[in-house]
Symmetry: C2
Subunit: 353 residues, 2 copies
C-alpha cells in the first residue's frame, strides 16, 4: 500500500477523509486535518499526478506552442509564462513548432491531440488553416500571443500603431527618405511584420510621403538585418537618411552594418526599432517598447480565467508600446548630405578593414 492510503492509515482515517483533508475539498474537523497533514509530512507524501488527472480530468499543465525559442521575443514570452505558471503551481509543456519541420507536423497531428494540458498558449504561430482547425478541435481553452483571430483571446501590442509612431517620430525629425527594413524575405510574410509594414505605410501616406515609401526585405533576425543593411547602405544607389526596423534585431543589425560602413548613427543615419530588445540599450537604439515577459504573464492569467470559467468571453488585450528615446535618431544632416553621400560611396569597404 502506498500513496494516500498509507497517509490515511497512519492518520487512522479513511482514504476519503485523507483526500478531503489534503485537498481542502469537503468537511474535515480541524483535529483530523492536522493529523492527516502530519502523517503526509512524515512519509513525504506527494500525490500521483496521473492518478489525480485521471480522477479529476485536470492535468495541472499548460501547453505552450511557439515556432522558435531562440529568438528574443519568444524566449522572453516563454520566461514570462513560466514564471506565472510556477506561481500557480502549474507545469509547462513546450511544443517547439518550427515552420515546415517534421516536428511541427507531429505536434499538430499527434501531440496536441493527447490533450496533456488544461489549456494552450500559442505564441506567434502563424498557423496554417489545417493547423488552426486542429487547435480548435482539441477543445481546450486557447490564448494567443501575437495573433489575429478575434474568436480566441489574444495578447499583443498594437503593431500597426507602434510602427506608425516610430515612423512619425522620424518624420517629425525632418526625415523623408525613410526605409522600412525587414520582413517579406522569400515567401515569409509573417502577419505581424505585415501589420508593421502597414503602420509605416500609413504614417508615410499621412505625411504625404507616399512616393518616398520603400521596403527592403530581410530575414527577421540580427544577421538578416545586418546583411540587408550592408546591401542597402553599401550600394551606390541613393541611401536613405532613416530606417525603421521591423524589430530591434533587424534595427540593430542595421546599426552594426552602418558602423562597419563608416556611416555614423545618428548623424548620417537615424534608426528606430520595435521591441526594446535586451541589446537596445547598448546600441543606444530608439525604439517602441514592448514587454514580452508581461505578455506571457497576461496570457497565463487570461488562460486561467478561461479554464476556470469555460464561458468566459474571448478578450483581446492590445498593449500600447511606449516610445523609448535613446540616441539612434536625430534630424537629417541637411547641408552636408551630398558630401557625406559621396564619401560614403568611396568607402564602401568596411570601415575597420
Amino acid at each position: 500500500m502506498s500513496g494516500i492510503a498509507k497517509v490515511a492509515e497512519l492518520a487512522g482515517v479513511s482514504k476519503s477523509t485523507a483526500s478531503r483533508a489534503l485537498t481542502g475539498a469537503g468537511y474535515v474537523s480541524e483535529s483530523t486535518r492536522a493529523r492527516v497533514i502530519a502523517a503526509a509530512a512524515t512519509i513525504g507524501y506527494v500525490p500521483s499526478t496521473s492518478a489525480v488527472s485521471l480522477a479529476t480530468g485536470r492535468t495541472r499543465t499548460i501547453g505552450v506552442v511557439m515556432p522558435y525559442v531562440n529568438r528574443w521575443f519568444f524566449a522572453e514570452v516563454l520566461e514570462g509564462i513560466q514564471e506565472a505558471l510556477l506561481e500557480h503551481g502549474l507545469d509547462l509543456t513546450l511544443y517547439d513548432a518550427k515552420p515546415g519541420s517534421a516536428g511541427r507536423r507531429r505536434i499538430f497531428e499527434d501531440f496536441l491531440a493527447r490533450k496533456r494540458f488544461d489549456g494552450l498558449i500559442a505564441v506567434g504561430l502563424e498557423p496554417a488553416d489545417d493547423e488552426l482547425e486542429r487547435m480548435r478541435a482539441i477543445d481546450r481553452p486557447l490564448v494567443t500571443v501575437v495573433g489575429e483571430d478575434p474568436s480566441t483571446s489574444v495578447v499583443a501590442i498594437d503593431d500597426d500603431h507602434a510602427v506608425r509612431r516610430a515612423t512619425e517620430h522620424l518624420i517629425a525629425l525632418g526625415h523623408d527618405s525613410i526605409v522600412f527594413l525587414g520582413g517579406g524575405a522569400g515567401s515569409n510574410w509573417a502577419h505581424v511584420d505585415r501589420r508593421r509594414l502597414d503602420g509605416y505605410l500609413e504614417a508615410m501616406a499621412d505625411a504625404d510621403l507616399g512616393d518616398h515609401v520603400r521596403h527592403v526585405p530581410s530575414d527577421v533576425s540580427l544577421p538578416g538585418g545586418y546583411a540587408a543593411a550592408v546591401d542597402l547602405l553599401g550600394g551606390a544607389r541613393r541611401t536613405p537618411t532613416a530606417i525603421v526596423g521591423v524589430c530591434d534585431e533587424v534595427a540593430i543589425g542595421a546599426i552594426i552594418a552602418s558602423r562597419r560602413l563608416g556611416i555614423r548613427v545618428p548623424t548620417d543615419l537615424s534608426v528606430v526599432g520595435i521591441d526594446d530588445h535586451e541589446y537596445a540599450e547598448m546600441f543606444a537604439l530608439t525604439t517602441l517598447e514592448q514587454v514580452p515577459r508581461s505578455q506571457g504573464l497576461a496570457a497565463v492569467e487570461l488562460l486561467l480565467a478561461h479554464i476556470a470559467d469555460p464561458d468566459h468571453a474571448p478578450r483581446q488585450v492590445r498593449l500600447q508600446a511606449r516610445l523609448v528615446m535613446r540616441s539612434s535618431t536625430a534630424p537629417p544632416a541637411t547641408h552636408e548630405t551630398a558630401a557625406v553621400g559621396d564619401m560614403r560611396v568611396q568607402r564602401r569597404r568596411f570601415a575597420d578593414e
Copy 2:
C-alpha cells in the same frame, strides 16, 4: 463508455485485446489487430495519457531544468532536446530555474518531487548542494549537459581544452599580451567559466607567459562583454593585443566595443571566442565551435538509454571543440604598436559619435 472500451466494442473484442492490438504488447491475430486499428481510427481514438501513466508508471515525458532559456547556448540545447523528443513521441516539460528566484526554489521543492517525467535533463545548472540532493532523491534517471558530477551522465565539451587551443592559437600568432575576458563578475563564478579560465591559465603558463596573465571579469553576456571591453580598451591603461572571450557573446561584445573605440579587429586587436554563436559569422569571429543542439540530442539519447536500462552505467560524453578560423585574429602589429596605442588613448570617445 468511451476510450478504449468503445474501440473494443466497435471491433467486437475485449478491452484487453484492444489494448494489446493498439500497444503491440502480446499476441493478437493479424485480422483482429486490423479490425481494432480500424475501429480506433473511425472514432479517432487517442489514449488518455493519465490513464496510461497510472497503469504503466511511465509518463512519456522528459523534464528539462535550465537556468535560462534566453541565452544562445541554452536555447539551442533546448531546441535540440525538443527535436529529439518529438522524434520519440515524448513530451517535454520545462523548468526554468533562474538562479536565486522564488520559482527556482519551488521547482526544487515541489515540482520535481511530483515526478511528472521519466527522466530529467539538467542543463548548466550549477546546483547548490541541497538542490543536487533533491535531484538525486527523485529517483529518476538524470543526464547533465555542462556538468561536473562523475556519478551521473554528462554531455559537454572539453572546456579546458577548447580555451587552451584558443589561447595557443593567439600565442602562435605572436601575441603575448592576452586578456581573458568574462566570468567572475561579482560572486558569480560558474564552473564552466572557471574551467575555461583554467584552460587559458594553463596555455599561458605553458608558453612561459605566466606573468602576462590577466583576467577581466564581466557578465557572461553580449552587453556584459561590451561593457567590460569598453572599460578595458578605452582606458588609458595598457591595452592587450588579444582577447580570449569566455564565450562568443562576450567576445562579440568586445568586438563591438572595439569598433566603437576605433580599434581595428584584427589589425589592432585579435579576438577569439568559444561557441560558434549564431552571430559569430557576421562578426567574422574566430572561435572554437561547439554545437549545443547536438548536445541536446545526445543528452536525450543517453537519457533514454538510462530509462530503458536502469543499470546503464553513467557515461561522460566530452565533445571536442573544433577551431573555426575566421578573421578576428592576426599577428600583433609589432612596429606601430606604440603609435597606435597613443592614438587610441586620444580617441577614447566612441568613434562614431
